[in-house]
């Protein structure tokens, strides 16, 4: 759930999503769900000359299972905090 929460903090930011079919789409992150399905607003195809068929995309829903990478703006991420949170989530549960 950590990365779900993390992506929720990025809503409204510009992101680039690379799909497993090598298409790269940029747009404003509108929403994300627990499967990391993402919804982008105002989508632009990065390689317009290669994929003119995709110019008609405006707002799109991308299934989490086809996402390869999501590129996020560097300035928006506190990597120390994220690493810390990741470490905590993976820490062995204390016996209670």
């Amino acid at each position: 759930m950590l990365f779900y929460s993390f992506f929720k903090t990025l809503v409204g930011k510009e992101v680039a999503v690379e799909l497993k079919n090598d298409v790269v789409l940029t747009g404003t992150l509108h929403s994300v769900d627990q499967y990391l399905n993402v919804k982008l607003n105002n989508v632009q195809v990065v390689d317009k000359h290669k994929y003119p068929q995709l110019l008609a995309l405006k707002n799109c829903f991308i299934r989490g299972s086809v996402v390869r990478y999501i590129q996020i703006p560097t300035g928006e991420v506190d990597t120390e905090l994220l690493q810390d949170a990741a470490r905590k989530e993976n820490a062995p549960q204390k016996a209670s």
Binding site: K20, A56, V66
Partner: protein, 108 residues
């Protein structure tokens, strides 16, 4: 969230499947796995014409169509006028176009 597709219910949408096909239709139904029901679905088949009597775009009518969620890559609404403009300009800029590759789960 299961509501992600709600705003497009009964609207014209455009689906790109995992095998790289484009299917356009009216979104009649969906569920949380992105199984989709499209009304009056049409497949948009693009090709680079080898002779003058071949068209760049062929629309294949599919009727009522159900797409299983596994095979869905992108669901999108349609930016108005783009398809018309591309058709009117005789698909200018499509010479260097490539098909959408199928989704591959892992590449080695």
């Amino acid at each position: 969230m299961a509501t992600a597709l709600k705003e497009w219910k009964d609207n014209e949408v455009f689906v790109i499947t995992c095998d790289g096909r484009y299917i356009q239709g009216t979104l009649a139904g969906y569920d949380q796995l992105q199984n989709l029901v499209l009304k009056e679905a049409q497949e948009r088949v693009y090709q680079l014409p080898k002779s003058d009597d071949e068209d760049t775009l062929e629309m294949v009518p599919l009727g009522l169509y159900l797409i299983r969620g596994d095979n869905v890559a992108i669901v999108s609404d349609i930016r108005e006028g783009v398809f018309e403009q591309q058709a009117n300009s005789n698909f200018e800029g499509f010479e260097n176009a490539e098909g959408i590759h199928p989704v591959v789960q892992a590449k080695f």
